[in-house]
Amino acid sequence: MKDGCAHVIPVAVVDLSFSSLSFAPCGGRQGTRTMLGRTLREVSAALKQGQITPTELCQKCLSLIKKTKFLNAYITVSEEVALKQAEESEKRYKKGHSLGDLDGIPVAVKDNFSTSGIETTCASNMLKGYVPPFNATVVQKLLDQGALLMGKTNLDEFAMGCGSTDGIFGPVKNPWSFSKQYREKRKQKPHGDKEDSDWLITGGSSGGSAAAVSAFTCFAALGSDTGGSTRNPAAHCGVVGLKPSYGLVSRHGLIPLVNSMDVPGILTRCVDDAAVVLGVLAGHDCKDSTTVQDPVKPFVLPNLTDVSKLCIGIPKEYLVPELSNEVHSLWSKAANLFESEGAKVIEVSLPHTSYSIVCYHVLCTSEVASNMARFDGLEYGHRCDIDVSTEAMYAATRREGFNDVVRGRILSGNFFLLKENYENYFVKAQKVRRLIANDFVNVFNSGVDALLTPTTLSEAVPYLEFIKEDNRTRSAQGDIFTQAVNMAGLPAVSVPMALSNHGLPIGLQFIGRAFCDQQLLAIAKWFEKQVQFPVIQLQELMDDCSSIFENEKLTSVSLKQ
């Protein structure tokens, strides 16, 4: 390395297979059928130019949502609401009064954000039938910009999980399970005929949102990110997953998992789109006292052309034995890419990393125990039939309303908060949290602009394999590279880099300085441009389901840069 530090990551040669992709020619009028494959900014331009109307776009998405119903990405499809919003948007476009880049753009929202008049379940029996009377601030901001709300996406119950497999509405299936890229690789293998049972998980807990974006049913989706819940499924589904700085985006209306770590996350098909959505969502909210007071100005991501002034840190503690060879190789390759383009790439140390996941577990379950206390069956949500006493009603309601994972975390959290345990667990964990946050501060103070790490240990795994482990073990593995960022409140983004040997997406994570989300995204955008991650090829899937793409192949979706 330039500064003399040893680079710990052995560099392997990996075939990124970029050549197997074909792209539509830039420019030239695109038919509406290809609209769904575009990025948010592209389709926004098409709307402005009148190439497609909001209603047409909305109907296309609704149609695709129906055709991909088997993915189980959506819990609720808000068809009527979306069509009505599209109608309003269309009127604005006709008058030339578009509200901005999001006007007429179909979006999806994870089902743990409150949506006025639309059921919000957290994939839990406890909130089945609960219809909030107000919109989460982030939802309201999207709607104020004219976005079309297609529906509420699936998740692990109360966002507790990293597979999107543990909600009452069943698991979400990874669209890549049905991609041409994955299927072709599998045909070479003997067990290729078990396709139906061998579908892959999306990762989680925002798996529904990741799948919805990945399968072209919307152009952006909101996830939530407490320990990696946006970045993890983004990596597995080959989309961009942004976790903004804590305090940059309002949590009001987000049904909390861990208040001190939760942030609304953004899932899109490219970094620019994430920046557009962040620009809309960021800023102070008088309903969330933890949001920044300083005004956030709208921004356009710069096109980084020169990375020679950048310093990229490679945290050595993130090289863990469980890391798959392929992810390891791609991580090294990415580091080399920066270095070869003139960036300074150095090994850095985050010495308290190994304590992070245990610390996260204590803090997470403690806050969960507190946050879940309100679900007592009295004011809203599920209530059992037992009425012999208030206490009996509470107990039965909570027994019936929560799954094992949620109940387990509530029990652990209450244990940690008991008077005799508080100092030994909660207070200690808070101290460790401070050490972990300081690790990042020290690294950034040493001149590092961003950290480059894997997002996940490996590519997405088949559901049947995934469920062999319990939720807690899976979460400890799934969040290993992501949760420390939440404890430190930093911005981080997972960017898809390449396909694995199985034809599945692998994403890498960039971690930035607190409230330097724009700088982070600029770096991510540069990286995205370099790696040219392939577009998911879903035409077989679409053919099977009488494709809406008809004669046009999905490979023709444009990826204009």
Partner: protein
């Protein structure tokens, strides 16, 4: 909104603890006890130690009692401590409930500036140290009127600590002897109030009102007894006392109960009790859950509450965004103890009179307005305001603001008295007239009722002379040296003047005539 402040006062061995609440459950609430009284959000909690009563018991053992009060007082604010919904006394149930108040998932607390200012002001008034950084905590327990399953309070680092309150106690047979006391305040904390439960025992139902604010003060008293020089005894907590009278009765009862229990070989349990105001005794509350572990946790949705003073205020700060303790100190009204001292000094008032003047809402202002407009002696004014005026008010159960007699009218009346235009007894008559006939001035009443003192000395001398002639045996008595005889003559002359003559003038004339 509910912003509770917890103050703890310490002095001697007794302690009292007070909470000032704004619509939230009080600090040490038992979640499972049967409670029918409403709890409000609290804006401040004062915990203060009371003075220890050391009672010698038949020359054997001395007992000392230690009392601590947790006072829950509601902050006077337009909206609740953590939500924008309004605060109104006696509003229809559940009519002032925001999404946050109902604990809808995803809602977050937003601290009410007014409540913080009130807590700081309370802290300043109670000589507390104001913490420039304070924190909020969640206190967990399940109860039907606690919809979030926890209450937001300030357990670890409250907004104000270590204060004191000086007060006076009247002792002696006539309660005329004043003893000055000081009670220490441990802390003042902002605390959210719970809802209110209404238990319908017939239907086995509990109705919940989440409006919270009710405008009352509620006190929990912690009481123990011990022998001086020995460790403190086990304490009990008597909860939900809502008047000073019941508070005093409950404490007295509980001290005696504990002493009897111990002297009879029993033991005191660390338990919560309630005060049965009909029977005048305390009884254990049925707390099925036993001792609660509240599992305190820092409230993650409220950043530390930072306060500044003029010295620490960062330059260029928006005054709307920060709270400056010095600004609040400037706005602090004169404290009652200062006002009382001034009254005593300025008007030579008795301490107990100054106390009464301040204890009745509006009475001090009434007094000061009378003083401004009259030439009468301050002592005279004090006597009239505290005896006559207050007497009339009490008799009819009226507030000062409801009085039919204005300060100006009373001032004019006292001027007439001072100028000797009327006699004292006539003045009382005029006052009674003023009370029932609004619109008339004292002068008009005096004139209509012909109550002026007889000023013509010559007429008076003639009347004296005539009276002496008509009652020669009384005159004889006087000459024999009976000192009371002259009073009889004075009375007779006054009767002849229809009580309009000044008795001292009559006396003077009579004495002059007798010695002539």
């Amino acid at each position: 909104m509910a912003a509770p402040v917890l103050c703890r006062l310490w002095s001697g061995r007794r302690w009292a603890l007070a909470y000032i609440n704004r619509g939230s459950r009080h600090g040490a609430g038992t979640p499972t006890g049967s409670r029918s009284s409403g709890k409000r959000e609290q804006s401040s909690v004062v915990q203060q130690p009371l003075i220890t009563a050391e009672k010698p018991r038949k020359g054997e053992h001395k007992w000392a009692a230690v009392v601590g009060l947790e006072i829950h007082a509601q902050i006077s604010s337009n909206s609740k401590l953590f939500s924008g919904s309004q605060v109104h006394f006696a509003a229809p149930p559940n009519s002032l409930v925001s999404f946050f108040d109902a604990s809808l998932p995803g809602t977050l607390p937003v601290l009410n500036r007014r409540c913080v200012e009130a807590a700081v002001m309370t802290g300043l008034a109670l000589n507390c140290r104001i913490n420039k950084k304070s924190l909020f905590d969640r206190k967990h327990y399940f109860y039907a009127d606690l919809p979030a399953g926890y209450q937001i309070t300030q357990q670890r680092l409250p907004i104000a600590v270590n204060g004191s309150l000086a007060y006076s106690v009247f002792v002696g047979k006539k309660r005329s002897q004043v003893i000055n006391k000081t009670v220490r305040i441990k802390q003042i904390q902002l605390e959210q109030d719970s809802g209110k439960s209404l238990h319908d025992d017939l239907r086995s139902q509990t109705l919940i009102d989440l409006n919270r604010a009710e405008g009352q003060l509620r006190v929990d008293a912690n009481i123990s007894v011990h022998h001086p020089g020995e460790p403190l005894g086990v304490r009990t907590e008597v909860k939900n006392l809502n008047s000073a009278r019941f508070l005093a009765k409950a404490i007295d009862y509980e001290i005696q109960r504990q002493i009897s229990e111990l002297e009879n070989g029993g033991e005191i349990l660390n338990e919560t009790r309630s005060f049965d105001y009909k029977l005048g005794c305390t009884v254990p509350m049925r707390d099925k859950e036993g001792k609660q572990d509240y599992r305190f946790i820092p409230e993650p949705n409220l950043p530390p509450l930072l306060l500044y003073d003029s010295a620490s205020l960062p330059a260029g700060t928006d005054p709307q965004q920060v709270i400056n303790i010095d600004r609040i100190r400037e706005r602090l009204p004169e404290l009652p103890s200062v006002t009382r001292d001034k009254l005593i000094q300025q008007y030579g008032m008795l301490p107990e009179h100054s106390l009464t003047l301040l204890n009745e809402v509006g009475l001090l202002e009434f007094f000061q307005n009378v003083i401004k407009e009259t030439r009468a002696e301050p002592k005279k004014v004090t006597s009239w305001v505290l005896n006559t005026f207050l007497g009339f008010l009490k008799q009819q159960n009226l507030a000062v603001s409801e009085s039919p007699v204005t300060p100006s009218a009373l001032a004019e009346l006292l001027n007439l008295l001072d100028r000797k235009t009327i006699s004292s007894s006539a003045a009382k008559q005029v006052f009674a007239e003023l009370w029932k006939s609004e619109g008339k001035t004292p002068a008009q009443i005096v004139s209509e009722k012909k109550l002026e003192l007889m000023q013509d000395r010559e007429t008076l001398e003639q009347l004296c002379h005539a009276t002496m002639e008509q009652h020669p045996h009384v005159v004889m008595d006087m000459k024999k040296g009976n000192p009371r005889a002259i009073n009889k003559l004075i009375g007779l002359v006054r009767k002849a003047t229809l009580s309009r003559a000044d008795p001292t003038v009559i006396k003077e004339i009579l004495e002059k005539k007798l010695s002539a």
